[in-house]
């Protein structure tokens, strides 16, 4: 009854917060979460006598003939007649998959979540041998055979050990509980509407001497139909929730489980004086004007949690699609306990063994896929607003950017382009000439992104809706009728993308040419890409602004079973549609607001409708980092804040944040003043222009980083713990981060009135160069805080010693127009005079890279004799299986067509930071001397701080940036360029 009374309290009190918190449930307002937490507190109260009722029936244990997996019966002492099946398998990279399901139950639990998340059926390890003992079954694996999985029989407990140390423990605290399907007893008091009951009657009080009450409690709390504000969830299947405790006994930091507006290192929600009172919630929701520090659920859910310590990194991926709450506690600073409470579905947990952050990313990417390699132009700047009101408005915005010579790649159209919000259908009053408009944008090598939402206006004159009706692919109510809800388009229906019939139909809609007898988007071109919004789904008149949980999807599954997966299918299908509309296919760009594990395979995400406040700017960085850790690397938050009118200072700072986000878009609500960069007064306008140009100059770095993300799953922006895993001081840092493996460290300022800021240099003996001033700072083996200038025009940006950065420094209108531009190499020497960097290039739009149409070079500076040799190597040849996403290159020709197409592209300038003294000469291979300029300064090798020495080599005259050549810079100070045989 606690729920009902607090609910009444909420209704009675006018709440004046920005977010309508009362529109969203707290744990105590969701019966299954209440039950899960109550279970945990009972266990806590009886900690000495507590023992999980679940045990493995050792006699039923069956190991498959190839040793790959074993299955066994699991029993619950509470319900001896109910049968559960356990399935444990080890993948060939050491990931342990644990599944538990009710067998021969009254109904079937939802067991398809993993099938949507996984990129393919994982390969099972071939060199595992299970050893069955009296009390447990165990297996070791790993190269050093130092990883061990132990499944204890009574009670059931799964432990992953490395080097004898416990890494991950399932059901170690005995909170595993799979509520079996049961029949509703007739004449339960809960048949009476809840509000008619007083507190005590709301729950069915079980008989006092119920033998299960020690575990399940003594009441049936919200087992059957459940009331929430004005909605009733009929819950025809009754209770079916799942509770599981996952413990990391030797890890003091956990990360991930996006999406929440919260710090990167997750805070406690339970245990002693927790930071938050409610568990982290995963239930995709359109949380209007969300709070900047909360465990409330937001638009997307990835049930992946990393656990990190100085010597070990592991993770768990809990493949569940229903609403899930996660409690976190640190019983000691070096350990973490979690409890996962889900509304429905089977137990399907992947234990990801690590042992390093990078290994975890690779293992997770093998499960759910890596970030799709984006079209290169989509890494440029995106200009959005709700709304550019007509086609001339779009043209004028473009003209203004060009007048001010500010780069931009993409113009966006929000919902008002569509007549009555019937997506695909242009409002011809304001957009009479959509194709001409798009072509005018394309003429400057730019693109457009146009919104397509999942709600279809219910009117037979709307062909997309009518075809959906005809194909029978709309979501149904619990009674089997077409579900109707309210959204932008008024009375609307939703496509059920779980229904395979919808797939080809949806893909067909995006064809840009007419097809007899069906709707195709002839009023668009291949330069129109797509934005998928409102796919949580957001439904204005639905419970928690979403879909009733008892709605029915394909296969008879309830919406509650698939809610968190729902948004992913929409954007994934759209992405495939955009890919398939051209022949040969081109890389699609699809931005999604809602997402799930696996969404990264198909596009980009953003953090939804943020507020124009400093807090939201700051938390946006943390949210992007959390997403990056969870596989979805192509992420960003709206520059400027969706709501509100940011002052110029805030807008400038936000552009500095955006310029270092993988996805970089400015967006604004319809009620806001226009704030395109050209509208700013000086000095703000020039500052923003410089930031945008900085982003564009660094696009080669971003793209190279995305290559790595797309192959190995390593994030594009990386928090400290990922880059320096042993540095404990960096584990909770989430306001500065690294751009891929480039060696760029950035700390965007997210506070008002700042002129200087503190930057943490990690625990290593290394030199860090200010990107702009070349000021050299020294880190220390224990880490060090430095104070650096950070006036409005300055973004604290550093190059870690030992890095080589390829940039393109010529400002252009849009990124495709930079393709023929020369490169500049920044060589930031480390203490011992070495450095390395990478550059990846392909055509940026097609899939020809999968056929080896690429250039992937490594640049290396190293001491050679009395000089420094700067050389370039072909990385494709060195690592053909690791070069591109999706396929291992069978054949590779260094003089492939793409490489030939950029043969005219050269390195125009080499900047070397941290040389000891002026070179006597700089030579390219073959002995030709080239012009250079040397500005004396601090050397990398010393201990001094101050402006570093700078060597600028003019035009080393390597005609092809490459490819077949390398630089050498022998000491005595010569830079020799020599031919690299191939």
């Amino acid at each position: 009854m606690r729920a009902l009374s607090s609910l009444l309290l909420l209704v009675a009190l006018p709440v004046a917060l920005s977010v309508k918190t009362q529109d969203f449930k707290t744990c105590s307002q969701a019966s299954f979460c209440r039950r899960g937490r109550a279970l945990a507190s009972r266990a806590q109260e009886n900690v000495s006598s507590w023992k999980s009722p679940y045990s493995v029936d050792a006699d039923s244990l069956a190991i498959s003939s190839d040793q790959a997996l074993f299955t066994a019966r699991v029993k619950s002492s509470l319900y001896p007649d109910i049968k559960f099946g356990l399935d444990v398998r080890v993948h060939d990279d050491g990931v342990v998959r644990v599944r538990l399901d009710e067998i021969d139950g009254l109904r079937k639990r939802y067991d398809e979540a993993a099938s949507w998340a996984l990129v393919a059926e994982p390969k099972i390890s071939q060199d595992i041998k299970w050893t069955v003992g009296k009390n447990e079954v165990r297996a070791t694996h790993g190269k050093k055979k130092d990883v061990e999985v132990i499944v204890a029989f009574e009670p059931l407990k799964v432990t992953l050990l490395r080097g004898g140390k416990e890494q991950v423990v399932l059901n170690g605290r005995g909170l595993l509980h799979m509520e079996h399907f049961r029949t509703k007893l007739a004449a339960q008091p809960s048949d009476i509407p809840e509000e008619a009951l007083d507190a005590e009657d709301a729950q069915t009080v079980l008989s006092a001497n119920n033998p299960r009450s020690w575990f399940e409690g003594d009441s049936e709390d919200g087992y059957w139909d459940e009331q929430w504000l004005s909605w009733t969830d009929s819950k025809p299947k009754g209770p079916e929730s799942l509770s599981l405790d996952i413990t990391f006994p030797n890890h003091g930091h956990v990360y991930g489980i996006p999406q929440h507006a919260t710090s990167l290192s997750l805070r406690t929600t339970t245990g002693e004086s927790p930071y938050y009172t409610d568990p982290y919630r995963l239930y995709n929701a359109d949380t209007f004007e969300y709070l900047a520090d909360s465990t409330m659920s937001l638009y997307g859910s990835i049930p992946l949690m990393h656990a990190h310590s100085a010597d070990s990194t592991v993770a768990v991926f809990n493949a569940v699609g229903s609403e899930t709450w996660i409690d976190i506690a640190h019983p000691t600073p070096k350990s973490t306990e979690t409890q996962w409470i889900s509304e429905s579905g089977i137990l399907d947990v992947f234990i990801i063994p690590g042992p390093t952050p990078e290994a975890v990313f690779e293992q997770y990417a093998r499960l759910t896929g890596a970030q799709a390699l984006p079209a290169d132009w989509s890494l440029g700047y995106h200009q959005c607003r709700w709304n550019y009101v007509n086609s001339d408005d779009v043209r004028q915005v473009q003209a203004k950017f060009d007048e001010e010579d500010i780069p931009v790649d993409v113009f966006w159209l929000d919902i008002e382009y569509a007549e009555e919000h019937k997506y695909f259908i242009w409002d011809k009053k304001n957009f009479p000439d959509p194709l001409d408009m798009v072509n005018d944008v394309s003429a400057n090598a730019r693109k457009m992104v146009v919104i397509i939402d999942p709600h279809l206006k219910r009117t037979s004159s709307y062909p997309v809706y009518q075809e959906a009706v005809d194909n029978g692919v709309l979501v149904k109510t619990k009674d089997g009728n077409e579900y109707e809800g309210w959204c932008w388009s008024g009375s609307s229906a939703w496509v059920d993308f779980f229904n395979p019939t919808s797939w080809d139909w949806w893909k067909g809609l995006f064809k840009t040419y007419p097809i007899e007898g069906k709707f195709t988007w002839v009023d668009s071109t291949e330069d129109v890409h797509i934005w998928n919004d409102m796919n949580e789904p957001a439904i204005f008149n639905g419970p928690e602004i979403s879909m009733p949980r008892d709605n029915i999807h394909h296969g008879g599954w309830e919406h509650r079973d698939v809610h968190n997966i729902n948004g992913m299918l929409f954007s994934n299908l759209t992405s495939q549609a955009v890919m398939a509309r051209s022949d040969p296919p081109k890389r699609p760009f699809v931005l999604t607001r809602s997402f799930y594990a696996g969404s990264q395979r198909f596009g980009a995400m953003w953090t939804g409708d943020n507020l124009g406040s400093w807090e939201h700017m700051a938390v946006g960085i943390k949210m992007v980092l959390a997403n990056s850790l969870s596989g979805f690397a192509f992420s960003g938050s709206d520059v400027g804040g969706f709501f509100g009118n940011p002052e110029p200072e805030m807008l400038v700072r936000w552009y500095q944040v955006g310029a270092f986000s993988p996805f970089f878009r400015a967006h604004a609500h319809i009620d806001t003043k226009r704030r395109e960069p050209y509208l700013l007064d000086e000095p703000y306008k020039s500052i923003v222009k410089d930031i945008l140009r900085l982003r564009y100059s660094m696009l080669p770095i971003w793209y190279t980083t995305f290559r790595e993300a797309s192959v190995r799953g390593i994030p594009v922006v990386r928090p400290h713990y990922v880059v320096i895993p042993h540095d404990e001081k960096g584990f909770a840092i989430d306001d500065q981060f690294w751009v891929g493996g480039s060696g760029l460290l950035v700390k965007p300022v997210t506070e008002k009135g700042v002129t200087e800021t503190t930057v943490y240099l990690p625990a290593e003996d290394q030199v860090y160069y200010d990107y702009f001033t070349h000021q050299a700072y020294r880190s220390a083996p224990k880490g060090k805080n430095i104070t650096v200038p950070a006036a409005l025009h300055q973004v604290p940006l550093f190059i870690r010693g030992g890095s080589i950065l390829p940039t393109r420094e010529r400002p252009r209108r849009s990124s495709p127009l930079m393709k023929k531009d020369p490169f500049t190499l920044r060589v930031a020497l480390d203490k011992s005079g070495n450095a390395r960097g990478e550059l990846y290039l392909d055509d940026g739009v097609t899939y020809n890279h999968r056929e080896g149409q690429i250039v992937w070079r490594e640049f290396k500076a190293s001491k050679a004799g009395k000089g420094i040799k700067l050389s370039s190597h072909d990385l494709v040849r060195a690592k053909p299986t690791d070069a591109v996403d999706g396929v291992a290159l069978a054949s590779y020709n260094p003089t492939n067509d793409f490489a030939k197409s950029i043969a005219g592209v050269r390195v125009e300038k080499v900047v070397v930071l941290g040389l000891e003294k002026k070179p006597t000469s700089v030579k390219v291979a073959g002995g030709k001397e080239v012009t250079f300029e040397f500005i004396p300064g601090v050397a990398a090798s010393g201990k001094k701080e101050g402006v570093s020495s700078v060597l600028i080599i003019k035009d080393p005259a390597i005609p092809e940036m490459h490819l077949y050549s390398c630089f050498r810079m022998p000491f005595g100070f010569v830079l020799v360029l020599a031919s690299d045989p191939f």
Partner: protein, 544 residues
């Protein structure tokens, strides 16, 4: 090395660019080498650096001012000049040089490497000249109309000057009349003042005054409430019709339902969009049930229409008339007092003057007693005076207005120094966009009128021309924009406003309407008032 690599070597990097490529004619003289011993050198335009002549246009930026790369785009933030022979020379930003796109501004294709962009200057130059000719023609026609506007302004000047003269005359005569009537009124007043003062002490009168004040205050309050109720009703109406059942906001829903109940409207979601008006009409009839009134109480209609009349009563007159009704009339008024009733109307003022003078003499001599009805005469005289004074004021206002009109006529901040905009003062232009018709009455007000019923919103009143930074008052750019501000406030938003962007055209017309930000409209249109006579013959600059 593979042979094809060698083949590619001569491309871009080594392809020499002419040293004066991208240099405008005015700077050609600066792009010549000087000798330094055997070496040819060159000094950056800003004098900051000396570089080898070979470094000019070598696709590498050497000079801090970027002057060494006029033709390659290697130096950011510089300009590239294309000669466009056969057309007009043009500058483009360095960011567009060799970016793979043929710049429309560089019809000779010189912005890209040779062979990439065709030279289209002949046809583009031709088309440009045709377009120029058409524009000139348009401006010529437009400027003729504009001349007629200027002529109109001259006529207006004469007219207003005439008006001013006649108004000034009128004022002189009216002033005399007012002075005369004032004398009479003052005189009458002095006669009745004492009696009146005495009567004013009557408790009845005092109570009446108190009632009057109370009623007046009440009426004032009532009006405020009515206005408040009206604007609240408007807000709620707009909420009701405009709200998205967004986010299941119970507060909004309750407000809408509450208002519907209160105002007797059907629930908006039950109303079919198509037959909305009729449904609403039906619902509105019979919603105001007549309340039962106590006998003698005023109906709302009476309150609305007759209360003002009641409050406008001249209580002093009433007070003076009062005596007639309370039986104080022991003797009938002497003929002398009432003689005026027999005097022909035209003679009345003279007669009254005479009568007043006579009576006062007689009274003074004690021959006649002061008449009880003298007060009525007094108030009549006062009224005559007030009326005349009011007319005088109106005439003076007219004069002020006329003088203002005259001063604005050739004021650059108003109708232009030639008065070319005067013709359009109050001219209303309309544009139907389907849902709404937009109307701009120039120099007055802009409005949005819904085509399918509903209330018209003011989008603002004329405030000023384009007074943006750097815009010279009276320049064509100055007259290219009109600002209309302080229109009806958007609920939950700013007051509506309009920027009217005008350009030369032979017709006064509105072309496009766009709400670029919420409640801020951009309207474009044409007017001949902006058509300056074309300079003959037009000479394009830097034409080669």
């Amino acid at each position: 090395m593979v042979p094809w690599v060698l083949l590619l070597l001569p491309l871009s990097a080594f392809s020499a660019v002419d040293k004066t490529h991208g240099v405008p004619p005015s700077l050609l003289a600066s792009y010549v080498p000087t000798k330094d011993g055997s070496q040819e050198i060159w000094t950056c335009i800003d004098g900051s650096k000396v570089i080898p002549w070979s470094a000019v246009n070598d696709d590498y930026c050497d000079c801090p001012d970027g002057s060494d790369e006029p033709g390659t785009g290697a130096c950011p933030n510089t300009r590239f000049y294309c000669r466009n022979e056969g057309h007009i020379g043009a500058f483009i930003p360095s960011s567009r040089v060799r970016d793979g796109l043929c710049e429309p501004a560089c019809c000779d294709g010189s912005d890209e490497e040779p062979g990439v962009c065709p030279n289209k200057c002949k046809e583009i130059g031709e088309a440009y000249r045709v377009k120029q000719a058409a524009e000139r023609k348009l401006r010529k026609t437009g400027s003729k109309i504009r001349s007629s506007y200027i002529a109109f302004a001259q006529k207006e000047k004469k007219r207003i000057e005439g008006e001013i003269a006649s108004l000034e005359n009128e004022i002189v005569s009216r002033e005399k009349e007012v002075a005369r009537l004032k004398d009479i009124a003052d005189h009458a007043e002095s006669l009745s003042a004492t009696a009146l003062e005495q009567k004013k002490q009557s408790p009845l009168y005092q109570s009446l005054l108190a009632h009057h004040r109370a009623l007046k205050s009440l009426q004032c309050e009532h009006k405020k409430h009515l206005e408040r109720e009206k604007s609240l009703g408007d807000i709620l109406d707009r909420l009701r019709t405009g709200y998205n059942p967004n986010y299941q906001d119970m507060a909004v829903l309750e407000a809408v339902r509450g208002w519907e109940f209160h105002a007797g409207l059907p629930h908006i979601n039950d109303v079919k969009k198509d037959d909305e008006p009729s449904t609403e009409d039906e619902s509105e009839t019979g919603k105001d049930e007549e309340e039962e009134l106590e006998p003698g109480m005023w109906t709302p209609q009476q309150l609305e229409h007759q209360l003002d009349e009641l409050l406008d009563q001249d209580y002093e007159s009433l007070l003076l008339e009062h005596d007639k009704h309370v039986g104080a009339t022991e003797h009938s008024d002497s003929l002398l007092y009432n003689l005026s009733a027999y005097v022909p109307e035209p003679l009345l003022p003279q007669f009254e003057a005479f009568q007043n003078a006579l009576v006062s003499w007689l009274e003074l001599l004690g021959i006649v007693k002061p008449s009880k009805s003298d007060a009525a005469d007094d108030s009549r005289a006062k009224k005559a005076y007030n009326d005349a004074d009011h007319s005088l004021k109106l005439t003076r206002d007219e004069l002020t207005k006329a003088k203002e009109d005259l001063s604005r006529l050739f004021d650059s901040n108003w109708y232009g120094k030639d008065g070319e905009w005067k013709k359009l003062d109050g001219t209303c232009l309309e544009k139907d966009t389907g849902d709404y018709t937009y109307e701009v009455c120039l120099f007055d007000e802009a409005r949005q009128k819904p085509n399918k019923g509903g209330s018209t919103f003011s989008l603002g009143r004329f405030a000023h021309w384009n007074n943006g930074p750097g815009v010279e008052v009276g320049s064509p750019e100055y007259y290219s924009k009109q600002f209309y501000i302080h229109g009806t406030k958007c609920w939950n938003g700013p007051q509506r406003s309009v920027v009217l962007e005008l350009e030369c055209g032979t017709e006064n017309a509105l072309h496009t309407i766009a709400e670029l930000e919420k409640c801020e409209y951009k309207i474009t249109g044409t007017t001949p008032a902006l058509c300056l006579p074309p300079d003959e013959p037009e000479k394009p600059r830097e034409e080669l």
